[in-house]
Symmetry: C2
Subunit: 258 residues, 2 copies
Amino acid sequence: MPVRSAEELHQAIEAYLDALPLTNELGGLEDSLRYSLDSGGKRIRPILCLAVTEAAGGSVETALPAATAVELVHTFSLVHDDLPALDDDAERRGRPSTHVAFGEGVALLAGDALLSEAFRLVLDYERPEPARELVQATLGMIGGQYLDITGDNSDLADLHRLKTGQLFSAAVGLGLWVAGTSEAERTPWRAFGAELGLLFQVVDDILDGDGFAERLGVEGARKLADTAADRAREQLASISADTVTLGELLDGIVARTG
Amino acid sequence: MPVRSAEELHQAIEAYLDALPLTNELGGLEDSLRYSLDSGGKRIRPILCLAVTEAAGGSVETALPAATAVELVHTFSLVHDDLPALDDDAERRGRPSTHVAFGEGVALLAGDALLSEAFRLVLDYERPEPARELVQATLGMIGGQYLDITGDNSDLADLHRLKTGQLFSAAVGLGLWVAGTSEAERTPWRAFGAELGLLFQVVDDILDGDGFAERLGVEGARKLADTAADRAREQLASISADTVTLGELLDGIVARTG
């Protein structure tokens, strides 16, 4: 049976998110969580998690809670990043950001609740390992956000290894865990995830005209992106599995225009 | 061997917190976490957790990560609550609150990191159950904070069952889990925790002149506190274990003057 396409996995994530019950006790706060999650995002991290699981011989259905937990952590970080105390962004993907739509206090609590819901989801598994992987990635990401706001970003690669790379890496790690891949076999998959995370960030910076594009110029950034894409393809080629959807995901990031 | 006193358990918590390694990748953000944790708090929740464990026949040392995780969740909630977007409190226990000392952006990230560190700690155990208990309590607490800021606090008991009660209940639940107490035996312990949480909140409101004291008057609130304390004592009396430290903790809350 062929593996599912990125688009099919995207649909699986959206369907799972739509039907996802949130904690009852959140009461009216739920609206702001749904609003934040329902933002037309590309869902690259959860698709990556599902595609890795399927390529490694695991079940997409079993991986859905883990994949969705990664997306919830990502969404939590966007909601808090957009607050006036951090990036002060009034819009996200053409809509008012959560704090503009619901007020700052509610957005603060919505972010806290999204992070907690992510851990609740990833604790659905019988074992604590996936939750441990997600919590380490979250702490790394927060460390990256701190580097970002304190201006201590002399090493841009290090900053993005934390701020973007950690969640990409967790998406891969969780996918492999669900598939039952042994630690010894995980190396090329993880290296692929790290290159994909770097590629994603450089392309993002080229589109936004900041970060790597500001530091290296657009041509320099484009070259860095191409090198990361090449290395990612090499890693994929070294894995004996049906990685066609992972290649598709990679090509989609290279071709991104918005 | 007699159980340890509340003061001895308090010292155990402080020593554990002082020596607790935080995640490396947090970098310079660690200072704001340490500042927030080192606030001269009473540590009632973690002491409760340890006292329950020891009374139920468990090991205080084994319970220390769980007890500390509860304190980290409590501290996260204070750091975020103090932000201008929520309560806008410039001081906590006579010191500048975290956002005044470090700036709003750093305080926001410090709260996020404290919550994540709490989950990291409680995921030290072999099984996911303690982490599940803590995440459910955290979500309930956040729901209570939402009720608090949206003014939908017509049922003050319900609000405080969430905002304060959930973490008291988790402290008891985690202590029992570490001690290996069966689900069937947990009922009076949990009922004790619920009464203690209510008692704590009512006494807090009497000292601050808000909440239950505002709603019921000081005499009415005092009466409610006495009733909760009586019921908590009854629950303790029904448990055949050395609950002397739990009784001491209860008496300490009744006698609180600040």
